[in-house]
């Protein structure tokens, strides 16, 4: 399965990848403001027209105040929360690696946005004929045997593209070869069941704008118990409700019959009691 390895220690913050993404995907530029986000970071956040973003983080690197760059984009999860969430399979994991989106079946419910633990999918809020947007790992290029546009553009090889298992081994090799220069954690190796985008960094990954406190279980593990119980609940209710109504209605029927019998008895008794006298009429 294809994957990307992004090593923030090699990133110089040139944003060539951000531009390459825009040109390949024909995304318009965006009106931005200086210092709207963190320092020189521009734009402020991912958006419907910005699918990848270099974050500019002023933080401490080995005791010294420094600028560290991170790259935000879709993580192309192995078991994506967005694909679990999407009611119509508009978002799908492909066997080649990319998680792709098909607007022609999307309902625009935005459940994918709610579900994605990495806050990736964006929605075109200002359009009537809207869609969800996000990085596609350049699925179209990958299908033609090319690497994604951002990898191609990166001048320092901070982004490399390849087979996930190989890149994972490479990531660990880099940490082992230079243990003082890396946080000993490959972000994306295990997060949410693992992802096809792997990050290396020399500061804690959260300081680069990546989500923290994520579990190692895929999102589907959280909804599965409820979803798996559906047929049991349906069958149980079907049997239970039918049985209860049977018992209750039968009992009521018997009670009604009993009453009817008693009433008849009463009438009969009354008739008997009245007969000898017969004065009432």
């Amino acid at each position: 399965m294809n994957a990307m390895l992004i090593d923030s220690t090699r990133c110089v913050g040139c944003r060539a990848c951000q531009i390459a993404c825009k040109s390949w995907n024909e995304l318009p530029s965006e009106k931005t403001q200086f210092f709207a986000g963190k320092g020189y970071q521009n734009p402020k956040d991912l958006s419907a027209t910005t699918w990848t973003l270099i974050t500019y983080n002023e933080t401490k690197r080995r005791g010294r105040f420094d600028w560290v760059f991170g790259k935000r984009q879709c993580m192309h999860c192995l078991l994506p929360a967005c694909a679990t969430a999407c009611p119509v399979t508009a978002l799908k994991k492909t066997p080649e690696g990319p998680v792709v989106y098909d607007s022609s079946i999307c309902l625009g419910c935005r459940y994918c946005q709610l579900a994605c633990p990495f806050d990736v999918p964006r929605f075109e809020w200002d359009k009537v004929f809207t869609k969800i947007t996000k990085c596609t790992m350049c699925a179209d290029r990958v299908a033609e045997g090319m690497e994604p546009a951002c990898c191609k553009a990166c001048p320092t090889d901070a982004i490399v593209f390849g087979e996930r298992s190989k890149l994972l081994a490479e990531a660990h090799a880099r940490i082992d070869a230079n243990p003082l220069n890396y946080v000993h954690h490959v972000f994306g190796e295990k997060e949410m069941g693992g992802t096809c985008v792997l990050h290396l960094s020399d500061v804690p990954h959260q300081e680069l704008g990546h989500a923290g406190g994520l579990s190692e279980e895929p999102a589907s593990a959280y909804s599965r118990p409820a979803m798996a119980s559906i047929p049991f609940v349906l069958t149980g209710l079907g049997i239970g409700l039918g049985a209860v109504s049977w018992v209750v209605n039968r009992r009521q029927q018997l009670a009604a019959q009993q009453k009817e019998i008693e009433r008849l008895h009463e009438i009969a008794e009354q008739a008997e009691g009245k007969e000898p006298g017969g004065t009432n009429s």
Binding site: L114, E124, T235, L241, S245
Partner: protein, 423 residues
């Protein structure tokens, strides 16, 4: 009649105005896009509409299945006078809710695709199917008064014979869509067919007027639908505040929906009595009121027990907007009405019943808004607050619902006192 209009016209006018303004804003939304009428954003993709129109709206429509089930399946005939109004409320509620959903969806013209593109793992897929299928069951349940009103006896007869088969078909398809398993589908279809045979063979007595299978299906779909709305949020463990995030969310949503059903019936009957002049059956409402402490109590125990089990008590005791909102929901919406409903005096009186029931309804809406909005807010980032147009669209939808209910009430034989009077 004239003085009834004199009495209510100002209130009605407000409703008409709100509904018209809401519709106007909805037109504007479809010309300008969601961004123009909402404060929703990529950080807050769901807001007021999901909280109030969808989550609370569906929960408040639970009267339909709770009352129908209690009367027809559990034999509580004393509540019979409430079934038609409860079913009508539920049906109208669902129609309004679907309308609201179309406003909220970004690409509503694709709604029908959920019928053909199946994702068995998606809670939203379950929600979408429940909405569509339960609305059709509600339509079936709603029809008899219409048949009666327009004297469509032949159609009514057809309805009686067709409904059970339609139900078996719908539930069969639903089971298959949810499980992707033929075995489960066969099991569910078999169970339903078995009961239908039992009913038809006269082994179990039944009322010819109400196909029991339809009532059973109503309860099954509602159980799935109410709980699936909670399941939606189980996918967001990293976003929903721990005060509300729980694997038990589906159960809590179901319990609270059942709990609000009698409260909503009480509330509605007393309000309708004032505005539409249908005498409320006070003894029936009081006996509903006496059931309330049980329902509220069970919900409270499960809710607090869940909080304890998850170790989230410290979140409830910390000082934050979220914990404040949690206490509001629990104290005002559950604990206070619980104590009120316990009082024998109060349950006999209209004002008392109305107050306590209104609190339960308020508490439920508060809970759903907490889950969809308050619990999602990240105080360190941008904070979402609904845009005025969002609020007015919601108000417009609610007004439309009330007006629709009024129309149905005036023109259909929903209230038993009238039908009884003609006999």
């Amino acid at each position: 009649m004239t003085d009834f209009f004199k009495r209510t016209s100002s209130g009605l006018l407000v409703l008409y105005a709100l509904a018209a303004f809401g519709l106007l804003l909805i037109v504007y939304r479809f010309v300008m896009g969601l961004g123009a009428v909402t404060n929703l954003s990529d950080s807050y993709p769901w807001g007021l509409w999901i909280g109030v129109d969808v989550l609370a709206g569906i929960a408040l429509a639970s009267g339909g299945f709770v009352v129908a089930g209690t009367v027809h399946l559990f034999g509580a005939n004393k509540y019979h006078s409430l079934t038609r109004t409860a079913i009508t409320t539920a049906f109208l509620g669902y129609l309004i809710f679907i309308f609201g959903l179309i406003v909220d969806l970004g690409r509503p013209w694709n709604l029908w695709r959920a019928l053909f593109n199946w994702n068995h793992t998606s809670p939203m897929f379950e929600v979408a199917w429940c909405v569509m299928l339960y609305t059709s069951v509600l339509l079936m349940e709603f029809l008899p008064p219409v048949f009666e009103r327009f004297k469509l006896t032949a159609l009514h007869e057809k309805w009686k014979t067709m409904v059970p088969w339609a139900i078996v078909f719908i539930l069969g398809i639903f089971t298959f869509a949810m499980t992707d398993s033929l075995i489960w589908t066969v099991v569910v279809v078999f169970v339903l067919l078995f009961w239908e045979l039992v009913f038809r063979a006269g082994l179990s007595p039944r009322s010819i007027q109400m196909p029991l299978l339809m009532i059973i299906a109503g309860v099954m779909f509602s159980t799935m639908h109410q709980s699936s709305l909670g399941t939606l949020f189980t996918l967001a463990p990293h976003k929903l505040h721990p005060l509300w995030y729980s694997p038990m969310l589906p159960v809590l949503f179901l319990l609270s929906a059942v709990m609000v059903a009698p409260a909503m019936v009480i509330f509605e009957s007393i309000v309708a009595e004032r505005s539409l002049g249908h005498r409320a059956h006070m003894n029936v409402l009081s006996s509903l009121g006496r059931a309330m402490p049980w329902l509220l109590g069970i919900y409270l125990v499960v809710k607090v027990g869940d909080l304890l089990a998850r170790g989230a008590v410290s979140d409830a005791l910390s000082i934050s907007w979220q914990s404040f909102s949690w206490w509001g929901e629990v104290l005002l919406g559950v604990v206070l009405p619980f104590t009120l409903f316990l009082s024998q005096d109060l349950v006999q009186k209209r004002v008392g019943l109305l107050t306590a029931a209104a609190l339960v309804v308020l508490g439920l809406v508060w809970n759903r808004v907490n889950v969809a909005v308050v619990g999602m807010i990240d105080l360190e980032g941008d904070v979402y607050f609904p845009y005025w147009a969002e609020i007015f669209i919601t108000l417009g939808l609610i007004s439309l619902g009330i007006l629709g209910y009024r129309l149905a009430s005036l023109h259909l034989p929903l209230h038993e006192e009238e039908t009884a009077a003609t006999h």
